[in-house]
């Protein structure tokens, strides 16, 4: 089991699903690709929306919008597939956009707000940002834009996203996030 010390720097990829932003361990992401044609698979599990052919490799597709209960819009120019690992398997997570990679200290990750579900794995394992006016950390060698812009981002548990009832927890998280961070602030990230 990895033992992270609080001062350890971790790199998280920030991406957008619907109007909210989430974070994933960058080491979990193998690559990020523009949308590929999705083949439907009959009788697949409920969380799987089909498969894609990525250079000869068949990868199941999980639509992050549908899993979190937000509107499933047609693929746009910003839509991306995050090719991510869960255990020894790979999946393609459809997201509405990839924002940035943040390098933050482990200690700036806060516990996620308590949500509706208690049984089974939690969908959100922590939170980052969302506190306006937090001073930049002492070490200047890395940026902490997630905190400076005041945008609350929840750390997404990819394995739990495959569970059937993720949408309820996500809706509760959005309500809580809406209460905490107020109106969305202009983003300074590059697309």
């Amino acid at each position: 089991m990895t033992d992270h010390s609080p001062s350890e720097i971790v790199e998280l990829c920030a991406f957008r699903i619907g109007s909210d932003e989430y974070l994933m361990d960058i080491r979990r992401i193998r690559e990020i690709v523009p949308p590929l044609p999705v083949r439907l698979v009959p009788r697949a599990p409920e969380c799987i929306d089909g498969v894609v052919d990525l250079r000869g490799e068949v990868i199941p597709v999980v639509d992050g919008r549908r899993r979190l209960g937000v509107e499933v819009t047609p693929f746009s120019r910003q839509t991306r597939f995050l090719i991510a690992h869960v255990g020894s398997r790979t999946l393609a997570l459809v997201v509405d956009g990839v924002c940035e990679v943040v390098r933050i200290s482990r200690s700036s990750i806060r516990p996620a707000p308590g949500l509706t579900r208690l049984d089974g794995p939690r969908l959100f394992l922590g939170a980052c940002g969302g506190e306006a006016g937090t001073p930049a950390p002492a070490g200047k060698q890395f940026t902490n834009r997630g905190t400076k812009t005041g945008k609350l981002r929840l750390l997404l548990n990819l394995r739990a996203l495959l569970e059937p009832r993720g949408a309820e927890e996500a809706a509760a998280a959005r309500r809580l996030a809406g209460d905490r961070s107020g109106p969305p602030t202009p983003s300074e990230e590059a697309p």
Binding site: R55, P121, L162
Partner: protein
Amino acid sequence: MASEENQKKAQAPQQQFSPAEGDGFTIVVRGDSGPTPAAPLAVPANPLEEFFYREDEPGSPLLELGVAAHPTRVTGARDEARREYLAFLLGSEEYGIEIGNVREIVKPPTITEVPRAAPHILGVVTVRGEVIAVIDPRQRLKLPPGAPTNLARVIVCDVGEGSCGLLVDMVSEVIRLPPSAIEPRPQSMNAVDTEYMAGIGRDGDRMIILLDADLLLRRRKSAEESLT
């Protein structure tokens, strides 16, 4: 947030974990974790352990689709279909190698020269902790030397013996070519000049000289070099 957790504690039988690190995470778990199809395992004392990727972490049975069980069949279909090549520039000419050989593309780090190395090896670089030899394709293709550019990249390739880097002027794109767009290498030219060519690809007006990655990156000398 603490009060929410306390309310839930009062409602149901529970266990509470506090990690020894003291970073403030507490979770409340019911004695009987609910009917989820995910692999049941002891809930980690620190929920962030599940967030950070480990190669040996538990997977999800929901991803066991069985569609990846026939890789040979998939490959067979692709042989007849378009192949993907990574196109790059050397000087003003465009070249390509099969994308299956390419592991990653990096901006060239400082190249450490290696004395008494073969002439086509520029030196070694370190990519994510791994020491990789960097090859100058111009030397192999008998092209004049070029000036360094900001767009120069090292294409890190896997050719079975390990990883090698290829220093190029610029990486263009990944291009798909159907077999009909690829012409075999010209027979009339001197065999030495076309030794590393796998063919010539045409995409509209573009002509892309397709290179055989195995020959280009192998550490042993080519037949011609062995004679000198």
